[in-house]
């Protein structure tokens, strides 16, 4: 049975919001998976809190609408408890890079088999326009009316340093490529990180800026860590520079579940072991 991929929930994203593009892309990917005979019952989408996160209400699949910054620990728990699940995180840049940065680094360090999609519009939308960790220096938001006094950090560099085994950057106005990057991320065994540049139609519309600077990574060897670092540094999310899109790094390493598999035992064996532990304490 083909499922209706969209719930009856009313969509409240602003017209022109980059989230539509990500939702369409994901919807197409899911429909494709179903067509290939894969059951969507085994897919879980985990969202944070913010404009992006409404995707949990809109997509008619298993979802966990978590807390701000906490997609990864919840997703990690899901994957550890049931390794057969395909777990996809949708997080905002405030989620992934501010409130939940520690989890992001650790997910990469663990190489837990998840796909992390960061809806990076470089501004807080739902809280009506404050700077995020990837807003450029001097960004004038409601909490920094005179402009920020701090540089953004480069999430790709951060992920390279943290041990992510799939690192990509997409752009919401390059939907076919974005679809390919996400599909590849889902297929990747290990921690897949995709930074998605999207515009915020209400608070940080960067359409023109991105349109004139993005280009596709070609002839880049994604197995070469050094080359990946160099490419990731080309644009630092602050200074004016060409912005490359595509897979920066991809490597196969054992996942957390593979290195630390769970051992299941029967209820009887459990009781027996508990009895033994009481006995050895005598």
């Amino acid at each position: 049975m083909t499922r209706n991929m969209i719930t009856p929930a009313q969509n409240t994203w602003c017209p022109g919001c980059g989230n539509f593009s990500i939702q369409h892309t994901l919807k197409d990917i899911l429909a494709g998976m179903e067509k290939e005979g894969r059951s969507l019952d085994d897919v879980v989408l985990v969202s944070g809190i913010g404009c992006h996160a409404k995707i949990a209400d809109y997509l008619n699949i298993n979802t966990v609408y978590t807390l701000h910054g906490r997609t990864i620990p919840v997703a990690t728990g899901l994957k550890l408890a049931n390794p057969d699940l395909t777990v996809i995180c949708c997080a905002g840049d405030g989620d992934a890079y501010a409130e939940g940065l520690d989890h992001l680094i650790f997910a990469a360090k663990r190489n837990i088999d998840l796909t992390m999609i960061v809806h990076n519009n470089r501004v807080y939308g739902l809280t009506t326009g404050q700077y995020t960790p990837t807003s450029p220096l001097g960004f004038k938001g409601k909490s920094t009316p005179k402009g920020t006094a701090e540089y953004p950090f480069n999430p790709l560099e951060l992920m390279l340093a943290s041990g992510a085994t799939y690192i990509a950057r997409g752009y919401t106005r390059k939907q076919p490529q974005l679809g390919q990057l996400i599909r590849q991320g889902i297929a990747h065994k290990g921690f897949a990180f995709i930074d998605v540049l999207q515009i915020c139609a209400s608070f940080f519309n960067m359409t023109e800026y991105y349109q004139s600077r993005v280009y596709d990574l070609a002839g880049h060897n994604a197995r070469d860590f050094g080359a990946a670092c160099a490419k990731a540094r080309e644009w630092d999310y602050n200074r004016d520079a060409p912005i490359s899109l595509g897979v920066f790094y991809e490597q196969v390493f054992p996942t957390f579940n593979e290195r630390a598999p769970a051992r299941h035992i029967s209820r009887e064996e459990r009781s027996h072991q508990i009895h033994d532990l009481f006995e050895t304490a005598k």
């Binding site: 897919v43 728990g77 009781s271 009481f278």
Partner: protein, 552 residues
């Protein structure tokens, strides 16, 4: 009552707590009931450590100030403890104790040299010396070493025997009849109880005094078929725990007050999204970093109220490992039946103390299975069922779309801000609390002891119950101890208080947190005895203070 106490003292890193554990097992194998308290500062090496072992012919769960045998590994132990015990029997390590007013001393170094044994076996010499001074038969020492020394029992026994043969018996321990029990710390009992309750995963970040639960379960993870994870911080601990539970794995997490502070957003998420999770909070002295390795009962109000918004929770505060085992198993079952967070509230005294437990006397608390989705029709995660308990399905279940949500949501799990729906779903969650209360009415939520018809009663909770129980028995008073603190067992508490004219609260906090709770439930407390210096009440001290109150 026949009882005696042994203090083993030395510097941190000397293996004092292991030496105390072996002495506790020696008493255990002689048929005594045992309790061991360890006192140590928050550091790895240096500083003074001691283990206090109390053995008696009836169950004990607290130590007294009185010491019968002093085993001194260093001079500081003599300086600190000898003045406290003018009539105790002393065995000392002659290598480090240069000034010994009385007692017997042996040179560990020369024994090790003669036996060409490594320094790590040195404490066995002190155990051997103590055993002989106390007239304990060599066979008991041998049996305990073989059972409880993981490594090189033979080598340790040779060292112990040397010392045993060098010392005179000066104060023989009375022989009693009894069988050996299991000696368990509170944390070990919690771990075993969780396992018995069906635990699939335990997730924790190290924090004293909860860390030994993490160590115990990690050490036995394969054996018990439990996955044990130590993530980046306590925020990740609870969220990972919730993710694990959403996927259907029975999950528990553990921490102390400071770590629990970080868990409160996750706790509230569990309340709203109706995710079952067991949270073990072992209290230490606060506020803030406080005294990491000392005890306290100051987090009761915190655990009862933590998390924004209103949602039902179970809070059980066991007094001893037996109760900890039973309620930990029940905490899992009740969390899953009602899809709520459930707490085991312990403290350093219970978590790290060792107690005699008779496993044959542990009868499971009855609790029924969780409601699972029957696979019929369209799955609705938050179906507004009569008792508020929506049948569970986990992601991966065929034909179920499971939508879990931290926002106010409808029965399908889709965000809503509609007023009537918000109230309806709040009522649904509240009904689970009422159903839980009904079920708890059939479980022993208030423990009573002492002379149960006495007009004067001691009121306490958690591990303070052990000292209180002794004092109540000795003075002919009633003991009333709520084990469940949320939802508060009004009916059982009122029954326990029938005929009480004078209620004296005993708590290891400064403000009387249980006092204010029972007041909310309509019962006034006449007097309060509080201790908040990080040390547990001793029965001796408590008896004196109760008698002072009764005289005035």
């Amino acid at each position: 009552m026949t009882e005696l106490s042994v203090l083993v003292g030395g510097k941190a890193g000397d293996g004092i707590s292991n030496a105390g554990a072996i002495i506790a097992q020696v008493f255990n194998h002689m048929g005594y009931f045992v309790y061991m308290y360890t006192d140590y500062p928050s550091l790895i090496r240096g500083g003074h450590n001691y283990a206090l072992v109390r053995a008696a012919d009836r169950p004990v769960g607290a130590c007294n100030n009185h010491i019968d045998y002093l085993v001194a590994l260093n001079q500081e132990t003599i300086a600190l403890h000898l003045p406290e015990c003018p009539d105790c029997t002393v065995v000392a390590n002659a290598d480090l104790v240069k000034s010994l007013p009385r007692g017997q001393a042996i040179s560990i170094n020369s024994i090790l040299k003669d036996e060409t044994a490594p320094p790590i076996t040195g404490n066995s010499a002190m155990i051997g010396a103590f055993a002989k001074a106390a007239g304990i038969s060599w066979e008991v020492v041998e049996e305990v070493f073989h059972r409880h020394m993981q490594k090189a029992a033979g080598e340790n026994l040779r060292v112990a025997k040397r010392a045993y043969d060098m010392v005179q018996t000066t104060r023989p321990i009375p022989a009693i009849t009894g069988t050996a029990h299991s000696l368990l710390s509170g944390n070990e009992a919690i771990g075993l109880g969780l396992a018995a309750g069906g635990l699939d995963a335990y997730i924790a970040y190290p924090m004293t005094p909860s860390s030994t639960l993490l160590h115990f379960l990690a050490g036995n993870a394969e054996r018990l078929g439990i996955r044990v994870i130590h993530p980046e911080n306590e925020i990740a601990v609870i969220l990972m725990g919730l993710g694990s539970a959403i996927a259907g794995a029975k999950t528990a997490i553990g921490t102390s007050g400071g770590g629990f502070c970080l868990m409160t957003e996750g706790l509230s998420f569990a309340g709203m999204a109706e995710i079952p999770i067991v949270i073990v909070v072992s209290q230490r002295t606060g506020p803030s970093t406080g005294l990491p390795t000392y005890t306290g009962q100051a987090d009761l109000r915190f655990v009862l109220h933590a998390g924004q918004g209103e949602f039902p929770r179970l809070v059980a505060a066991p007094a001893d490992p037996g109760e900890a085992y039973l309620w930990s198993a029940a905490a899992i079952r009740l969390a899953w039946k009602y899809q709520i967070p459930t707490f085991i509230l312990a403290d350093k005294t219970l978590s790290e103390g060792s107690y005699s437990v008779d496993p044959d006397r542990l009868t499971d608390l009855p609790a029924s299975d969780p409601a699972l989705w029957d696979g019929q029709g369209t799955y609705r995660r938050y179906l507004n069922a009569p008792e508020g308990i929506s049948p569970l399905a986990f992601p991966g279940r065929k034909n179920a779309t499971v939508k879990v949500n931290s926002y106010a949501h409808d029965e399908d799990g889709i965000t809503t801000e509609e007023a009537s729906l918000v109230a309806k779903m709040a009522d649904k969650r509240a009904r689970k609390g009422e159903a839980l209360k009904g079920e708890l009415d059939r479980l022993p939520c208030v423990s009573t002891g002492g002379r149960t018809d006495a007009p004067v009663a001691l009121l306490c909770w958690g591990s303070a119950g052990n000292a209180c129980s002794e004092v109540a028995t000795d003075l002919g008073l009633r003991l009333i101890r709520p084990v469940v603190l949320s939802p508060f067992p009004d009916r059982q508490f009122a029954d326990a208080c029938t005929g009480v004219k004078h209620l004296i609260a005993v708590e290891e906090n400064a403000t009387g947190q249980l006092v204010s709770i029972v007041k909310e439930h309509g019962r006034n407390v006449d007097d309060g005895l509080f201790r908040y210096d990080g040390r547990p009440f001793t029965p001796e001290e408590l008896r004196q203070r109760v008698q002072e109150v009764l005289r005035s």
